[in-house]
Amino acid sequence: MSEPGAPIAPDRIGSTSVPAAAPASLAAPTATEGLTAADLHKAFGDHPVLRGVDLTVPDGAFAAVLGASGSGKTTLLRILAGFERPDRGVVAVGGVILDDDHHHLRAERRRVGYVPQEGSLFPHLTVEGNVGFGLRVREGREAEIAELLERVGLSGLGRRYPHELSGGQQQRVALARALAVRPRIVLLDEPFASLDAGLRATVRADVRAAVRRSGATAVLVTHDQDEALSIADLVAVIRDGVVAQVAPPRDLYESPVDPDLARFVGEANLIEGISYGSAAETPLGWLELRDGHRPARQQVTVLVRPEQLRVAASAGGGPGVAARVVETGFHGHDALVRLVMEDAAASPMVARVVGGMRLEAGAQVTLKVTGPVHCWPTPPAGDASPDLPAAQPDAGPG
């Protein structure tokens, strides 16, 4: 199905800014399967929005594009959908080119399912009319619509009008409408942003399941990192118009490419240390390094996630580093504790503890890090360069 002869410059394909760390759960993708975007550029007037976006999503995977507002993520989605034409670059689906320097396949011919931000249901049509909008065949139409509605959990609501539905129901209808044309790719533009927090989780899970059953490759755009990490097989973080990193959620969370990204994806404690092979010496003690070997005696910045910090009351006298509680932010299921270490001038740390644990401000505790940690070489001048590679040749001093 995917001919190797597809005229895509091979050097552009699959080139993400990270050495291809294919998720183990997915079959190793060939370059032409699924969705490929290569070197996409787009500017509005003088204002560049995309500056060379590379993204490859394996066939059938659910990818999330995560970015702050203004990072270009919605523009990327609109280019994939065919509403905007890139200034430069290639978009291909299943080995078929949709956009390059000479071609632009119009939105209506792409077979790309699109779920807009607010659902954007046709207000003059019923739910059935909306879902069946893209269906061209007459026979089996009703059965197909009923099946689609059942798939998104809305059986029996076909006669309603959009304004008679709740926000979550509207999003489900929008998804069913997009799936009706059996797209190879489904694009979701912050579809859960307008939903109540309570509703969001269930709608999210149902959407995920429905898309998975359809077999389509999905790209979800969001600014919500919890959402991206929980829903996607693959998360692409877009920053200043380029993809900073593409990785499965766990890898992204545990091994972000630079400290900025670490802070963007979740809470992060960044501490300085010195690496010796597979461990680093830090104010929190000797920590095991995740990525194996480091050159000896290298200045590194270590990432410790809040849940990697074990907090114990000092009275127990267990092993660890002494610290004092500054404040506790209680969230019910858990609590975020801000701490300062007693003997170091290091900035405050954040630890995540189970909600039942009572830690008043001023309490003396001990800290212990569990599990391996990620680190980056500290730039010499002290300015955090975002482009440091995660791995470096073993050429350090000593």
Partner: protein
Amino acid sequence: MIATRVAAEPPVVADPMVPPRRHLPPLFLLGASGAVAVVLLAPLLFLLIEASGSGVGTIAHLIWRPLTATLLWNTVRLTVVVTALCAVIGTLTAWLVECTDLPGRRIWAVLLVIPFAIPDFVVSFGWASISTWVQGFQGAVLVMTLAVYPLVYLPVAASLRGADPGLEDAARSLGLGRVRTFLRVTVGQARGAILGGCVLVALVILAEYGAFEILGYQTFTTEIFTEFQVSFNVPTACALSLVLVVLGGLILGGEPVARGKGRAVRTGAQAQRAIRRHRLGRATLPVHAALAILVALALGVPFGASVYWMFAGGAFLTGVSLLDAGWHTALYSGVAAALATLLALPVALLAVRHSGRGGRLLERSTYLVLAMPGLVIALAISYFAERYAAGFGYQSATLLIAAYAILFFPLALVGVRASVAHAPVALEEAARSLGRRPDEVFLRVTLPLIGPGLAAAFCLVFLACATELTATLVLVPTGVQTLATQFWAYQQNLSYGQAAPFALVIIAIAAVPSYVLARYFDRLPSRAGTAS
């Protein structure tokens, strides 16, 4: 199935020849809107050409004389007094209907709006025909206030309906009493609506001709009309028109300044709490009485007087002339309404979908038409056609229809804008991503969504044209009568009995559909969003 089909056409399936026309829709729209703006501003241009034709010195001389001062004093004091009265009456009645537990609110809401649909010259006729006191300044104040206060009532009522009740609660909790809360918070919130209504009132008074002619009150419009139609003194008419347009421009330009920078800001979800209505208690009866008097004066007198004259005037119905005039009114109004709606479409699309600076500027510029009274537009068009276009279209319906379309363009734009906002571009994009061609998208999505709004805009303009008098008097083809001009002819001859049926027909065709349309536009916002 799809996968195999796609794979069957490898490796490239994109249309090879789609030109890079991403920016074409805005360009096309910009061009069309620009053309519309030029058409709309043409009368102003004609006026300036006329003025320069007479020579700057002559014009200045004509303006700089006691007559202008008299007209200015007459026009300005009437405008100020009527606007102030309308602001008070319109705001108070809107508050009573929207924010209190007034019994029979819905009926009052209808009765309070209907006077707006009755043309000012009919109201004026009704009053002047039964009382000799109603003339001159006091007559003009009375008649105009009763005829146009709904221009304040309507926007204020809409604004109070959409107002945030939380603000009043907050003010009360901060220790403000009921009266101070009303003045500082309720009125403060509706400030923009009140101001907008006042601007419309002032512009209507500047433009009004028929009512003042009947009442014998001399303003710029009556004097311009006399100079042009009776004395054929074009330079004077032109000079006075310039002053009038400048006055209108000042009012229009002053509005954003007076409005200030405050905007209603609301954080959080749009879920709106029900408005808690103030209890009138013992004031209920006096309030009912006051509203009844207002409605009796504004609605009862013109209607009653017309009915009275129809039966007591000794004249009988001239059925043929009524039918004939009605046919011409419908014909001219229908064509003009279609034209105005068509002209408004590109401007509305540009304003709603591409809210760039150019689009906003173009849209703004079309509102300049509001500063041009119908009389001035009609004179400019008529004079220009006669003088420079070799009499093209002069004494044909073309000029009248063009004048209508220009005059009521802002009205059409309001309606078309609302309908275009009803069809957000996201819906069209969604339709296209579902595999529909642009023509299918237009037929199946865009048209069903904007169609009703376009029809409503058409009706609005149609009604406005059908009840227009001043421009019609200037531009109606010789030997043709419309309802308004026939009424005017009888009224001028003091044939009240023969004028009365025309007045009643005008009231009927204006009031009933206006009510229906008002309800339609009221309902628009609640149906607008797809997200509830």
